[in-house]
């Protein structure tokens, strides 16, 4: 069994094992130790993806290929390149964090909780590793089941509404993608994504295919105006669910654009780029304002996620705006900057939003409230926590030196090559992001102690400190020295650009 298969099936089978063992009473709690061991083993193995990775090529690596369902020529076809590997590493890095975050907190059916996250992890890796479109779809859809249960079982008061909304929105998006995939299969006779990239398609068909994919991926990202499920899902989900949702699930939408929409339908992408840029800028600006007025911390971070993901789609689709109106001869460098910026932004947002939700989780576990108004002066009672929370808030606002800065800055620079006003609107996020994040920080962390509940707060325990410190270090490392990440992605991004700028007509 190859490395990628191991990464997928180790957590899935491990999760099933934990389910089979069930909840054991008593202090030993083998379920969580087992879950931690499996997730750490998966993370350890996933590091091999980095150490064994060939940085010089855009070819797919660690390829595994065998027939699966012969009637439709569906293959069990796995492989990664510089675009998918960082996302897999992000998933394997965050899962142990989620397990640790739920360590003492989850009282209700803990074995099922840990098992659900492990199975989810395997499926997420599968999504990023699949090179067969139908295999991708299988993982993409199967993931809905553990996520539906995670929000529904361990969520807050309106969890049933939130999880149904999440499921139905996502499902609606993806069934249209299914029809598009079947159509592409009928044209090409293959579900292999790389074959679909080469398939020549007429301009009208490209538009339809692009729209079918767009609905699937726009819901997942989520883009305005199909974003409304996200705040609900985030608010109701347990901390671990919010982390995985913001950190990895949203990235699948972005990954879908770069793996499917743009290479399969480049001409449609070009003709609809203006529309996509408009949606992205609305997400950045309008959703930024929406975030400003939120009363609920999780909701605020959820809206901030939508705004940040707007940068990702902006960076992708700015490509065609640059190419159609090159301001200087170095247009391709700007294109590359946009895509690289988006990719870095995805990874960085994964780390920062995950950390932000963990921070809110720390507060929620103590106070059982997410309302900003219930807090104030937290730093007096929890100095260590306050410091880290402020750090992540700065990163969220895009402070230079943190990873949040790198991606946003690259995308803004790329937008400037296309159009001054794109860059101007995109840059408002630096102000808006700082405004909503820091205003929340001001009200929650600083100031006088608001009430006795806050006064009684005790600072983070070792488990929580460990989590947040690890995340803080990685956010800082990525911000100061993003080179390894960028080097890993560069050949794949160059290859991607040289592919998408050729018309398929």
């Amino acid at each position: 069994m190859g490395l990628l298969s191991t990464l997928i099936w180790l957590p899935v089978l491990g999760g099933l094992l934990i389910l089979a063992l069930g909840d054991r009473a008593g202090a030993a709690r083998p379920d969580r130790w087992l879950a931690l061991a499996i997730s750490l083993a998966t993370f350890g193995l996933s590091l091999l993806l980095y150490t064994e990775f060939n940085f010089a090529t855009a070819q797919m690596q660690f390829v595994e290929r065998m027939p699966w369902i012969s009637a439709f020529n569906i293959e069990y076809y796995l492989g990664v390149d510089g675009i998918s590997t960082p996302l897999i590493l992000l998933s394997t890095f965050l899962t142990p964090m989620i397990i640790i975050a739920g360590w003492e907190v989850i009282k209700k059916r803990p074995a099922q909780y840990f098992a659900a996250f492990l199975i989810l992890e395997g499926l997420m890796i599968g999504v990023f590793a699949a090179l067969d479109a139908m295999l991708f779809y299988v993982f993409w859809e199967a993931m809905l089941i553990p996520m539906f249960l995670i929000i529904g079982i361990w969520g807050g008061e309106r969890r049933v509404y939130a999880t149904l909304k999440f499921f139905l929105y996502t499902f609606l998006g993806s069934v249209l993608m299914l029809v598009a995939l079947v159509y592409l299969y009928m044209q090409s006779g293959s579900f292999s994504i790389l074959d679909l990239h080469q398939l020549r398609i007429g301009s009208t068909e490209q538009i339809y295919i692009f729209i079918a994919f767009l609905i699937a991926f726009a819901v997942k990202v989520p883009m305005w105006p199909v974003h409304t499920w996200l705040p609900d899902a985030h608010v109701e989900a347990p901390t671990g669910g919010s982390v995985v949702l913001a950190a990895v699930l949203l990235k699948m939408g972005g990954y879908g654009f770069i793996r499917f929409s743009m290479p399969i339908a480049p001409d449609a992408s070009a003709s609809l780029a203006g529309f996509m840029i408009a949606l992205s800028l609305i997400a950045v600006v309008y959703i930024g304002f929406v975030a400003l007025v939120q009363q609920d911390m999780k909701k605020l971070i959820a809206y901030s996620s939508i705004a940040h993901m707007g940068f990702v789609t902006l960076g992708f689709f700015i490509v065609w705006a640059i190419l159609s109106n090159p301001v200087n001869s170095d247009a391709l460098a700007g294109v590359s900057m946009g895509i690289t910026g988006s990719m870095v932004q995805m990874i960085s947002h994964g780390l920062i939003s995950g950390a932000m939700f963990l921070c809110v989780g720390v507060l929620y576990d103590r106070m059982h409230s997410r309302q900003i108004a219930d807090y104030g002066g937290v730093i007096n009672a929890m100095p260590k926590f306050g410091a880290l929370f402020v750090f992540f808030a700065m990163a969220n606002a895009g402070l230079p030196g943190t990873s949040g800065f790198v991606g946003e800055f690259l995308v803004i620079l790329a937008s400037y090559q296309a159009n001054f006003w794109y860059a101007f609107l995109a840059a408002t996020t630096l102000i808006l992001g700082a405004a909503y994040t820091l205003w929340m920080i001001k009200r929650v962390v600083f100031g006088d102690i608001a009430n006795d509940n806050v006064k009684a707060l005790h600072d983070m325990n070792r488990r929580e400190s460990l989590l947040l410190v690890i995340l803080a270090v990685s956010v800082l490392a990525l911000g100061l020295y993003p080179a390894p990440l960028v080097e890993m992605m560069q050949p794949s991004i160059d290859n991607f650009i040289s592919h998408v700028i050729q018309s398929k007509l």
Binding site: L19, G22, I69, S70, A71, F72, R109, Q112, M134, Y137, V138, E141, A142, L144, I145, F148, L149, G152, I153, R159, V160, T163, L164, F167, L168, F171, L172, V175, L176, L178, V179, V182, Y183, Y185, M186
Partner: protein, 477 residues
């Protein structure tokens, strides 16, 4: 023309089954209520021996009884799955009937007679044989619905089923008579040969086709001939619902295939738009109305109607791929439905019917394993991969897109999104709500094992979909 003794060999399965029925009938007379398990055993042995007879048949396609009976790969596949599902249903039903004082030998006998009727339908190659099989099956089913004599609901359901069924049979018979009048033949391939001539597509043929189609649609429970389905599913004892909801769909598929494809021919697509209309209506009504149900059997009844929409859509393409997709969907649906009703039976205990959706509340607390099994069946019905229900849908979608009916495919998937809601509601009740009754499940060992196998089959048939797909491809080559 003298009398030629027909070749009995190809019909060995029916002969074995009929013989088995006689044995069970006689033996059951001497069995007391306490030892009804023996009748079950005899019935199962009959099914197994019939299965041996089915597989023992020669390959290829053989006509016998003056061309009114056919043994071909399709009939073999359908018969084997019918036997398998009937056997599963018998085992599921046993303890359920025993707990309610309904355990009579007649249940198995009627079930076997219905199976015989299905066999005749599956192998029918003339209009008369088809009608014979249809009536044999239907009469046995009517009696099974009325089996619980004490229950007024069951009696009402049986009455509805009988009257509506009789009308549908009459309509189908009328259509057959028109076709016979036009072609002068009862034999399906001869009818096809005549209709392929200049008469194809005349209003009279269309009329005959329409009437025959109504008969088929009734048996499937397609909208607008679906009114009996919810009432009968709800009114009948769950064991009977289980029977009606599964195996007869395979026979209905055979009826549709023989009459429409073999008899009326795919060249003249008079029936194709009719099927599309039936399919879209079924998808719409089945998936939307199911949302309003609070009774799990009624909900599953509407869910059946929605799935039938998919089956008819696959069939309506008139291509080999479409027929294969419809066949695959029918088999998969029977397996999923058996699983779903099996869990309803599992949850029903002595003196308690798990009929309301609310009875599923907190099943995850009471039994994580069986909640998991129901979860598998429900997500498979939604059409989430890698469960087998997804591949059934994929098959149908591929057949539609293949002949450029992408819009119909889009419509079908949109309705399945609506349908997802009520399956999710079952999952929600099992997992998100607290149990009102926390007592552990009391089902017997046999039902537990079988439900588990059924649930896992839904997963494994999806992960390893090749064999079943190959079987369907071979059946309709």
């Amino acid at each position: 023309m003298g009398f030629v003794i027909p070749e009995f060999g190809p019909a060995m399965a029916e002969i074995a089954l009929a013989t088995g029925i006689c044995v069970v009938l006689l033996a059951d007379l001497f069995i007391s209520d306490k030892h009804r398990g023996f009748t079950l055993l005899l019935a199962l042995i009959t099914l197994v021996l019939t299965g041996v007879a089915v597989t023992g048949g020669a390959g290829g396609s053989i006509l016998t009884f003056s061309g009114s009976y056919i043994a071909d790969p399709l009939s073999q596949v359908l018969k084997l799955f019918t036997l398998l599902i009937v056997a599963v249903v018998f085992v599921y039903s046993h303890s359920y009937l025993r707990d309610r004082g309904l355990l009579k030998g007649e249940y198995y006998l009627l079930g076997l007679f219905a199976t015989l009727g299905m066999f005749v339908m599956i192998s029918a190659h003339s209009l008369i044989t088809m009608y014979l099989g249809l009536e044999l099956m239907s009469l046995a089913l009517y009696a099974m619905v009325a089996f619980d004599r004490e229950s007024p609901v069951a009696a009402e359901a049986a009455m509805k089923y009988f009257i509506l069924g009789a009308i549908a049979s009459g309509v189908a018979l009328y259509g057959m008579s028109i076709i016979y009048g036009l072609t002068g033949s009862l034999q399906l391939n001869e009818i096809a040969a005549v209709l392929r001539g200049p008469d194809a597509g005349t209003p009279a043929v269309m009329l005959g086709t329409a009437f025959v189609l109504i008969g088929v649609a009734f048996k499937f429970g397609a909208v607008p001939f679906h009114n009996w389905v919810p009432d009968v599913y709800q009114g009948a004892a769950t064991s009977t619902t289980l029977f009606i909801g599964t195996a007869p769909k395979l026979a209905a598929f055979a009826m549709m295939f023989r009459l429409l494809e073999t008899g009326l021919g795919a060249e003249d697509f008079a029936w194709e738009p009719m099927l599309v209309v039936l399919a879209v209506l079924s998808l719409a009504v089945g998936n939307v109305v199911a949302i309003a149900q609070t009774n799990i059997k009624r909900m599953l009844a509407y869910s059946t109607i929605g799935h039938v929409g998919f089956i008819l859509l696959g069939f309506s393409t008139g291509t080999v791929e479409g027929y294969q997709a419809a066949l695959f969907y029918t088999i998969v649906y029977s397996i999923m439905a058996a699983g779903a009703f099996g869990i309803v039976i599992l949850m029903s205990q002595r003196g308690f019917e798990a009929e309301e959706l609310s009875d599923f509340k907190g099943l995850n607390q009471r039994s994580p394993w069986f909640a998991g099994m129901m979860l598998l069946v429900m997500v498979s019905m939604i059409g989430i991969p890698p469960f087998v229900g997804f591949f059934a849908k994929l098959n149908v979608l591929a057949a539609l897109v293949d002949i450029n009916r992408t819009l119909l495919a889009v419509l079908a998937v949109l309705f399945s999104v609506i349908g997802a809601f009520y399956y999710l509601r079952v999952i929600r009740l099992m997992y998100f709500d607290e149990a009102e009754d926390t007592s552990p499940l009391q089902a017997g060992f046999d039902v537990r094992v079988l439900v588990s196998m059924n649930g896992l089959a839904v997963l494994l048939l999806g992960l390893f979909a090749n064999p079943l797909l190959a079987i369907c491809a071979a059946a309709i080559g």
